[in-house]
């Protein structure tokens, strides 16, 4: 059904910390590895070893430079995958009902058996979250690892999306945004988690934590007293040293 649920019991999604992502692409490949093997059709690569290689990935890491008013340019590594929007345009445009948003947890999924590969949902998504697999001819997207998060064949600590489990820097967090005390809700509140392209009206569930202010140290001012000289040359230093050592008790700390 491509009608959006009025509300969902839970709002599962991800928090992506742009202040901690080091751009290693671990999430990209672990997602590829998990999903080519599990939910739905394999994630193919065409001309895999040739000049025109192109493959289906559900999560990709961009990078952007930001030139602030003052200070040096910054570089931000930027992972992007389906944001499991509350007002998902990709769901309503689908003609077959293959694209749907689950009432239980808000995850947006593709029922690959019903997908005719028209591509309209990918056109409707501002974020490029959907890629049509060239070999399978169906639309692929982040499943929020629906085949992991409830999977009783996995130890409880592993019932999280593959990308979250693998992120070495801990820049990805998974949880329930409908619960104000969840990890993702708290992080969003503490760090000012933001929506991507909010003017598109999609009401994304995934939130991005903005980079913390950088290069604030600037030139020395408040810490200047710490570097007050005790001497200006070797001789003076030795004199200071004598004073310091004679002030010490007979044993060191």
């Amino acid at each position: 059904m491509t009608q959006l649920p009025q509300s969902t019991d839970r709002k599962l999604g991800l928090v992506i910390d742009l202040d901690t992502c080091v751009g290693c692409h671990a999430c990209v490949i672990s997602c590829k590895g998990w999903n080519t093997e599990n939910y739905g059709a394999a994630l193919s690569d065409t001309d895999a070893y040739g000049p025109d290689v192109s493959g289906t990935f559900l999560n990709r890491v961009h990078s952007y430079e930001v030139k602030p008013e003052t200070g040096p340019a910054q570089l931000i590594h930027f992972p992007k995958s389906c944001l499991h929007c509350e007002d998902a345009p990709c769901v309503t445009v689908c003609p077959t009902g293959a694209s749907y948003k689950r009432t239980a947890d808000g995850i947006v999924l593709v029922n690959e058996d019903a997908c005719i590969g028209c591509g309209l949902c990918a056109w409707a998504c501002p974020y490029g979250a959907r890629e049509l697999d060239a070999t399978a001819g169906v639309m692929k997207k982040c499943t929020l690892c629906i085949d992991r998060i409830y999977n009783e064949n996995l130890p409880e600590e592993d019932q999280i999306p593959a990308c979250v489990r693998t992120c070495p820097a801990g820049a990805r967090h998974f949880g329930d945004f409908a619960d104000p005390n969840s990890n993702v809700s708290k992080l969003t509140a503490e760090r000012g988690g933001m929506d991507l392209m909010p003017e598109q009206g999609t009401r994304p569930t995934n939130k991005y934590l903005p980079p913390r202010p950088k290069d604030c140290s600037g030139e020395i001012n408040t810490l200047a007293p710490l570097l007050e000289p005790v001497a200006t040359d070797g001789k003076g230093f030795v004199g200071w040293l004598d004073k310091m050592l004679s002030a010490l008790p007979g044993g060191n700390a």
């Binding site: 202040d19 080091v22 751009g23 290693c24 692409h25 490949i29 672990s30 590829k32 590895g33 998990w34 093997e37 599990n38 394999a42 690569d45 001309d47 895999a48 070893y49 040739g50 290689v53 493959g55 430079e65 040096p72 340019a73 910054q74 931000i76 590594h77 749907y100 999924l109 058996d113 060239a134 409830y150 999977n151 009783e152 064949n153 489990r165 693998t166 992120c167 070495p168 820097a169 801990g170 980079p211 290069d215 140290s217 600037g218 020395i220 810490l223 710490l226 570097l227 005790v230 001497a231 200006t232 070797g234 003076g236 230093f237 030795v238 004598d242 310091m244 050592l245 060191n252 700390a253």
Partner: protein, 942 residues
């Protein structure tokens, strides 16, 4: 209305079983869970129990599936049938391959074993391959450290018995400020990512010093876009500021370093600049309790940082006084170094002030008692929680050794080594340079070498020279050109062998080293050297044996190919004898084991060496009756005894009363036990031994128990380096062994016993107006040197590499998006795709290393982006610096260690129209493996 949703199986089967082993997509050695379905590898993720990665896994590790099924995998031993470089081979049997190798190597061993040059590249089995080479009797063996990061390793070990990477780590739990110098995706990969994430989450500060602001430097709170090659100057300026302000840990310096040792100040003495020692050779200090001389490690001695001493007409001053004289000089003031480093004086002071604040106003004090080697009991452990990490960015310069020493000096001055929040060594380190072997090079035909190849010289007497003072090794390691070359100089082997300087060789035997491509400087030149023939029409380097798992560019240049397995198809030991996976809080080692069996006629290289070693009758590889000692590598791992009770793996060894750790007899079931335990073994460092490891009796005793050494080896940090001074003295004309004339001045200048900075050599030898810019490479996080392009997933991330040009140059030289760049150096010229970058030092361009590939290699089809747009910066770099006034050409290396000075490169950059392909472009090589499939839709059927 109810929305009908399809029913999904929420608990699908994940795998039939999980096999735990160690990753080998890079040298980080993370533990991995390999999920199997129907006997095939279905999915790879991190092992949560593993001490290195604790469940996380980077892009490379997760892409392991595409590595073990890469079409570029070699399939059988091969014999060259076309000319070298053509890629024309015929597949042969192992019997034939081993026979050929034996026929080449056996007679050579009897006559001139030094003519076998055996060098290993990206492997980690040095304690095994060195044994083989030693048993063969050639002095010409090393691994790749000489072109990797020997400056970092040697700088650390000579100074404090440990360094960064696998020797040490930040105290992630307690550090409050973490400063990275010259770090890209350099080891220690995942642990650094984990650490950075953790400390940022708890509010610690991360500072990145690197001309390029990617990766760890992108998430740094402060970024210092330093001019390449000037990190040492920045560090010495920080030292200047801190010493000048008295912000140094005097207690720590007095007790745990040689700052209180006494330096001979008599200019006429042959011991000038060496430390005062007693008749037992022990360096002396003045004891504050008595005011008299005492050995540095005397019971209860309290070394006096301030006392001078006069003895037999010679004045001795403490090292610390010399340091004060040196570093308080205004030449190291921030104003004096700002322009060179590209960091303003204000920011340098700010950094120094922040270090001082965290170190001295926010110490971490642990309520733990410990006893030092002088018998003194300390009530608490006082930590100065500023930690550091540095890698190739400071190492790959001709001033890298001194820079590394400078950084360690900074750490030690503020008391941040082996204290809470600072740097911690990983067992079996710390081990001072004096506890390491010295290098050996004595050749006896038909017999083993007289000891291990690589080591740590302490003076001219330890150099590897022939009777007439010439270098004994083909790479000239441990010679006057680079005395402390602890890891050898692999990057000079081919050039020296080609030139016959110091001599010609017969057989070049390489393992996992892409010397005919990205691992060499002067790539085209190197390829020519490998194919050059002499007047008689024979190849200048007569025979080349190469072992690799994949169809790399080097394969085409070998005469005999011994195909290796992939990492899921083999045994390996990540051993305490070698390069283990220890953490600061635990000794650990690990294995790899065949999770799948090879589906082609390949064998693990080490197993091949076991067989070849037996065929050649190498003593370490045969039993007393001459039969083959080790059936394969697994047999060696289990049964080899290096020293009494010490084998490659420390876990679950056989004791008198059952299994024990560290020392013990071989245990047949050892490998199985490792497999059951997730592929690794751990022994926790007792809490009271966790810090002050070099001085802490609890740690020293534990280290002996585990077999790292046979008796406690406490020592103090060597701020002042006597080995360096001894070489200076020889250059000045003292002693029996003295350097050749043309090297005296250089040794005098470069081997200062206290850290200094000098400009990178290239700067003094090229016209810096003609080549005003710097050019660097970084290793990307999703590729590991030349591995990665044969991987269908990873190559989509980095299928080509542009030259990133800073905005200032981009605008000045009129670049537009889509333009290419012509980059010239004193050595060569390249034309490559270009891209603008803002977050970059304004005089530095850079690219990702090793992405460019040669057409025909790695089973890639046709003119891929790797071969038509990708490129190597290597073409601009020569292994020899431009000629000096006297016509001599020095190696493009650090004069102390011989480390390849990749990042000294100076270039000019101009706009160019796009050629058909990046230049220089090399003709395709014939692929020795069959064509790759066109499309992939990877899913194991189940």
């Amino acid at each position: 209305m109810s929305l009908d949703e399809p029913k999904i199986d929420l608990s699908p089967k994940v795998s039939d079983e999980i096999r735990k082993t160690t990753c080998y997509m890079c040298a980080c050695r993370c533990g991995i869970n390999v999920h199997m379905k129907d006997g095939k590898v279905a999915y790879i993720e991190g092992n949560r129990d593993h001490p290195v990665n604790r469940g996380v896994l980077c892009a490379k590790g997760s892409a392991g599936i595409m590595q073990v099924n890469a079409p570029s995998r070699l399939r059988a031993p091969m014999k060259r049938v076309g000319p070298r470089g053509s890629g024309e081979f015929e597949e042969i049997s192992w019997d034939e391959a081993l026979q050929i190798a034996t026929d080449w190597l056996a007679p050579l061993r009897e006559t001139a074993p030094e003519k076998l040059a055996f060098f290993t590249g990206r492997d980690q089995s040095q304690s095994f391959t060195s044994l083989w080479a030693q048993s063969y009797g050639t002095p010409n063996y090393a691994a790749h450290g000489g072109f990797c990061s020997v400056n970092m390793a040697a700088g650390g070990i000579y100074t404090m018995g440990g360094a960064f990477w696998e020797f040490g780590q930040p105290d992630w739990d307690h550090t409050k400020m973490f400063v990275l110098f010259g770090v890209a995706e350099d080891h220690d990969s995942n642990p650094i990512k984990i650490g950075i994430g953790q400390i940022k989450a708890r509010g610690a500060k991360v500072v990145g010093v690197n001309p390029i602001r990617t990766g760890y430097n992108a998430v740094a709170d402060d970024w210092y876009g330093i001019t390449p090659g000037t990190d040492g100057l920045l560090i010495l300026s920080l030292i200047h500021c801190l010493m000048k302000a008295g912000k140094v840990d005097l207690d720590y310096l007095a007790q745990f370093t040689n700052a209180a040792c006494l330096v001979n100040e008599d200019p006429d003495s042959p011991e000038n600049g060496l430390l005062l020692k007693d008749k037992d050779g022990k360096p002396q200090v003045i004891d504050r309790r008595t005011g008299k001389r005492a050995p540095w490690d005397g019971a209860g001695v309290e070394p006096d940082l301030s006392a001078s001493y006069r003895y037999k007409g010679v004045t001795y001053r403490p090292v610390f006084h010399l340091m004060a004289d040196k570093y308080l000089d205004e030449a190291y003031a921030p104003e004096a170094v700002a322009e060179r480093t590209g960091i303003s004086a204000g920011r340098i002071r700010q950094l120094a002030a922040e270090i001082a604040k965290v170190a001295f106003e926010e110490p971490v004090v642990l309520d733990r008692e410990w006893t030092d080697f002088r018998g003194k009991t300390h009530k608490t452990m006082v930590g100065r929680p500023v930690s550091f990490h540095a890698m190739r960015g400071i190492s790959a310069h001709s001033n890298g050794f001194q820079t590394a020493r400078a950084l360690h000096t900074l750490q030690i001055l503020i008391g941040a080594v082996e204290t809470p929040g600072g740097m911690r060594f990983k067992p079996p380190y710390p081990k001072p340079a004096t506890a390491h072997p010295k290098p050996h090079c004595k050749v006896t035909p038909g017999k083993p070498l007289d000891g291990p190849h690589l080591g740590y010289p302490h003076g001219p007497a330890d150099l590897c020279l022939t009777a007439d003072g010439a270098p004994a090794r083909i790479d000239k390691a441990f010679s006057w050109e680079n005395p402390l070359s602890a890891h050898g100089l692999m990057h000079m082997v081919i050039a020296n062998a080609h030139a016959g300087d110091p001599y010609k060789i017969d057989t070049l035997f390489l393992y996992m080293a892409n010397m005919a491509w990205n691992s060499s400087m002067n790539t085209t030149g190197t390829m020519n050297m490998l194919t050059d023939k002499d007047e008689s029409g024979e190849y200048v380097i007569p025979r080349i044996i190469y072992s690799d798992a994949y169809s790399s560019e080097m394969v085409a240049y070998a005469d005999l190919i011994l195909p290796d397995t992939t990492y899921l198809e083999r045994h390996d030991c990540i051993s305490l004898l070698d390069r283990p996976i220890c953490e600061a809080d635990a000794a650990a080692d690990a294995i790899r084991w065949p999770v799948i069996e090879p589906d082609r006629d390949v064998r693990g290289f080490q197993s091949v060496l076991c067989e070849l070693g037996a065929k050649l009758g190498l003593p370490a590889f045969i039993n007393d009756d001459g039969s083959q000692k080790y059936a394969d590598y697994a047999d060696y791992i289990t049964n080899h005894i290096r020293r009494p009770g010490i084998g490659p793996l420390s876990g679950w060894r056989m004791g008198d009363n059952g299994l024990q750790d560290g020392r013990g007899a071989p245990n047949e079931a050892q490998l199985d036990t490792y497999i059951k335990n997730g592929g690794f073994w751990l022994a926790h460092v007792p809490e009271e031994a966790a810090y002050y490891k070099p001085f802490n009796t609890a740690y020293q005793d534990w280290a002996v128990k585990l077999g790292f050494y046979d008796a406690p080896q406490p020592y103090i940090f060597q701020l002042y380096s006597e080995p360096m001074r001894r070489f200076q003295l020889a250059a000045m004309g003292h002693g029996d062994r003295q350097p050749p004339e043309h090297l005296r001045e250089r040794i005098l200048k470069a081997m200062e016993p206290l850290p200094i900075w000098y400009a990178p050599f290239e700067e003094g030898l090229v016209d810096t107006e003609a080549y005003p810019f710097h050019a660097l490479t970084q290793r990307p996080m999703a590729m590991y040197h030349s591995w990665g392009s044969q991987n269908a997933w990873l190559r989509q991330l980095h299928g080509m590499n542009p030259l990133y040009i800073p905005t200032e140059i981009w605008k000045k030289r009129g670049f537009k998006p889509g333009d290419w760049a012509k980059v010239t150096s004193a050595h060569g010229e390249i034309t490559v795709p270009a891209m603008e970058m803002q977050a970059l030092n304004s005089k530095t361009a850079w690219t990702w290393n090793a992405i460019g590939k040669r057409q025909g290699a790695w089973a890639l089809e046709g003119e891929t982006s790797e071969s038509s747009k990708g490129f190597l910066l290597n073409h601009l770099i020569s292994e020899l610096l431009p000629p000096r006034g006297d016509g001599m050409r020095w190696a493009n290396s650090d004069p102390v260690t011989g480390q390849a000075a990749w990042f000294d490169l100076r270039v000019d950059i101009n706009r160019a129209d796009a050629p058909k392909a990046s230049q220089p472009h090399h003709p395709p090589i014939k692929s020795p493996v069959p064509q790759a499939p066109k499309n992939l839709a990877w899913k194991t059927k189940s």
